[in-house]
Every structure is written in C-alpha cells, then in structure tokens.
C-alpha cells in the first residue's frame, strides 16, 4: 500500500483548478473553509437552541417538557438528508414572506449555506438537548431544591447553580456532537454547497485523480478531528472542578 500511495500523482494539488481559482490545493482549502464556517455557525445555533430545549425538558410540569420532547422526537426520527432537502426545497415554497425572499433575495451559495446552517443547527440541537437534559438530571433533585430553598427563582437556579456544573459534566459528549456536525456537514454537498467533500468529488471528476483527492480530504477530516479533541481536553482541564470526577471519557 505504501508504494501505491507513493506512486500517486501528488503534483495534482499544484495544478491550476478548472474554475480558475488557483491551484487544486487552494480548491480543497476553500472547501475546508466552508466546512468549518458551516460547522461553527451551525454549532452556535445548535448550542443555543439545544440548551433551551434541554432545559425545558427538565422544567416542572407537563407542557414545557412536552414541547421539548416533541421537538427532540421530530428532529431525531427524520434522516438528516431528508431534513436538509425540506429546508432547501420545501420551506422556501410553503412559507409565504420569508420563503420568497429566500428564493429570490439570496444568491445560490447563500441559499445553500443558510439551509445547511438551519438544518444542521436544528438537527444537532435535538442531540444537544438530550445531553443537557442528562447533565442536569445527573445532578439530582437536591441541587435544585437547595437553590430554591435559598429563595432563588427557578431561572436563577438554572443559571447560577445547575447549568454551570451540568455544562462541565457534558463537555465530552458535547465535543462529540460538535465532531458530528463536522462530519454531517458533508451532507450539504448534496445541495451543492462547496464544502470539503464536494470539492473532493469535483476534483476527482475533473482530474480523475480520485485517490489523491480522497486521501487528502480524509486526512483533512482526520486533522480536524484531532484538533477538536485536543482543544476539548484543554477546555476540560481549564474548567475542572476540584474533587469532581469528570464525565465519561
């Protein structure tokens, strides 16, 4: 296998790309940029929405937790690709004002990007919600009771007591969700977004150097993976509470 890899034409990355944007290496790096941009933006959305839904699911009563449960069930039981196509093809058609603006007011690249962000964001939010819920629940009823007994209202209890500890506990699974967003971003290639996996396909199609293209892109995904894991371990160490055993590794 080593001779095979060595025998490939690695110069292809220095040839000019078919779209005149520079070398093929640059071509792939553009894809890399879009993958990162898409992932980070979607993650912000997922984190915010997921936290809200997760917290809702731990509220007392039936209505608010029920809304949270419905959200999670809907977004977990439909495939990601189907959700993406619904955001991109269906919603612009059936939502009156915003839909028309989306179809006509945005250029195609932005349309793809926005659909990608919304899809990945809301999809991942359901998974983040479950992590947040399990993190809060793992603290037990005692913490909540202690906060309320001191006279704090419910939102303060969440903000000052429950969430600071819950978030620390769930850093490992949240990291894993962020890595999932990065992997899932490849699905956006199906609606034409020029993220990394699409660029690798294009490169292959135009130059027939499939192996070089795929190997390079696989390594790039692996590199992102390793980097995120290192950053995550750093965050865990920096936010560690003395005497508290961290979440599962």
């Amino acid at each position: 296998m080593v001779t095979f890899v060595a025998g490939l034409d690695w110069n292809i990355f220095f040839q000019p790309a078919f779209d005149g944007s520079g070398t093929y290496l640059r071509f792939l790096l553009v894809g890399f940029q879009w993958t990162l941009l898409l992932s980070i933006t979607a993650w912000i959305l997922a984190f915010v929405v997921g936290s809200i839904v997760g917290v809702l699911r731990t509220f007392p009563g039936k209505l608010l937790p029920g809304i949270g449960a419905v959200y999670v069930e809907v977004f977990r039981n439909v495939p990601l690709l189907v959700q993406l196509f619904i955001w991109y093809f269906v919603l612009p058609e059936i939502i009156p004002g915003l839909g028309t603006w989306f179809k006509q007011g945005l250029n195609p690249l932005l349309q793809q990007f926005v659909s990608g962000v919304l899809c990945l964001g809301f999809f991942t939010a359901a998974r983040v919600a479950e992590q947040v819920r399990s993190g809060i629940n793992s603290l037990g009823r005692g913490q909540r009771g202690a906060g309320l007994a001191l006279g704090l209202n419910l939102l303060q209890v969440y903000q000052l007591i429950l969430l600071p500890v819950a978030y620390r506990i769930i850093i490992p699974p949240l990291t894993s969700e962020f890595l999932n967003i990065i992997k899932n971003s490849a699905v956006a290639s199906t609606i034409g977004l020029v993220e990394l996996s699409r660029q690798s396909q294009q490169l292959g199609e135009f130059t027939a150097h499939w192996y070089e293209s795929f190997i390079a892109v696989t390594l790039l995904y692996g590199l992102i993976n390793v980097t995120v894991m290192i950053v995550s371990r750093f965050i865990e160490r920096v936010t560690h509470l003395p005497g508290y055993v961290g979440g599962r590794h």
Binding site: L80, L81, V82, K183, A186, F214, G222
Partner: protein, 224 residues
C-alpha cells in the same frame, strides 16, 4: 398560500415500496455484518495483545473520524476496482454492493464501541468465576461475558439500528435509489418535490418513532 398537490404519490407507491425494500436490505446487511464484525473488533480491542488492541482501535477511530458521505464515496471508488481486479466484469449492481460494504464496515465501528462498553459493564468477578471453574478465556468470553453483555446492550444496539436506517438515505450521493432516492426522483420528475419530500419525511418519522417506542418499552422490561 402554496397549493399542495398530492396526486403523484398514489401512482408512485409501488416504486416507493421497492425503494423501501432496498433501504431495508442495506439496513439488514449492515446490522448483521456490523454486529458480527463489531463483536470481533470489541473483543480484539479488549485483548491483552497490544497488536490486536491497537489495530482494533485504529479501525474504530478511523471510521468514526470521517463523514459517512466520504466512506460511501471511498467504497464506491474501491469496490468496483477490487471486483474488476478479481472477477473481471461485475455482473452485480456495483452501487448496491458498494453500499453494502460501506455500511457494513462503517456500522461495525459504531457497534464495536457499544459492544465494548457492554463487555466492560459485566463485573470482573464473572470472569474470575468462569476461569476458576477451569474455563479458558475464550470459553469465559463466549459463554459467560458476551451473553450478559448483549442482554444489556440490546436497547443501544437497536437504537443504533434506527440511526442506520436513517443513514441509508445517504446512498443518494453514489446515485443509488432507495426509498428516499425514489421519492426525490419522483417528485423531481412530476414537479411535486415538495409533497414527495414531506411524504418521505412523514414515513421516516412514523417508522423511526414507532421503532424507538418499541425500544423504550423493551428497555423498561430489561430494567425490571
């Protein structure tokens, strides 16, 4: 207000059903091979031989660090070349075969982690008890540890199967038409993409939600 036109769905039902059969085929193959291979990998991961253990870790971490889309593209590149190298002209549907191989190997890495956690959750004392009776490590793993591990892991294995069922829609990227692909193509062709996509979403939701309810009740029964 958008005018919904559901008319093209009834006519397309036979094709949609064929697509669903294909989805189930891929899911089925991936589950069976995934669990079998995943068990071997999990056991290898826990073995005392550091070669086996590291190879298994490499396999698992490798497949879990790249997108499924890339895995599908990779095997759609590799499988035809390997087949034509071994057998000359392939008589089989190469896309379907690539999908089988890709999903089976990919799922095995996820199943391996679930099964590994399951094996580790069985108390070490059980291993001692098996060994003390004179069983070999292999017998202890096979007769004592794995049966207990699988009992505990069944809900997680089933949940992973539901995820796999949803993931099969991605064979779209290698041009293979299963349930989702058929729905998309039908909608595209008839100009009723909106309706077909919503229909597909609803079907997936019904199946996956139903299955997850079954898993939940199974989980409750196992705990008692």
């Amino acid at each position: 207000m958008y005018q919904f036109d559901w008319s093209s769905i009834p006519g397309a039902l036979p094709y949609l059903w064929q697509g669903m059969v294909r989805t189930l085929q891929i899911t089925g193959v991936a589950i069976v091979v995934g669990i079998l291979l995943g068990t071997l990998i999990a056991v290898a991961r826990l073995s005392k031989s550091s070669i086996l253990s590291n190879l298994a870790a490499l396999y698992v971490n490798g497949f879990r660090s790249i997108p499924l889309v890339m895995v599908l593209l990779w095997f759609y590149l590799l499988v035809p070349q390997i087949i034509s190298g071994l057998f000359g002209q392939p008589g089989v549907d190469i896309r379907l075969l690539s999908a089988f191989v890709a999903f089976a190997l990919f799922e095995a890495s996820y199943y391996a982690e679930i099964i590994r956690a399951g094996i580790q959750s069985v108390s070490r004392g059980q291993v001692s008890a098996g060994l003390a009776l004179g069983m070999t490590s292999g017998q202890t793993m096979r007769l004592i540890i794995l049966p207990q591990a699988f009992r505990r892991m069944t809900p997680l294995l089933l949940t992973q199967a539901i995820i796999l069922f949803q993931d099969t829609s991605l064979v779209y990227v290698i041009g293979l038409a299963e349930f989702f692909g058929v729905a998309y193509n039908t909608g595209n062709r008839d100009g009723t993409l909106v309706e077909l996509l919503l229909f597909a979403g609803a079907i997936y939701f019904a199946i996956c939600f139903g299955a997850s309810m079954v898993v939940r009740s199974l989980q409750k029964k196992l705990v008692s």
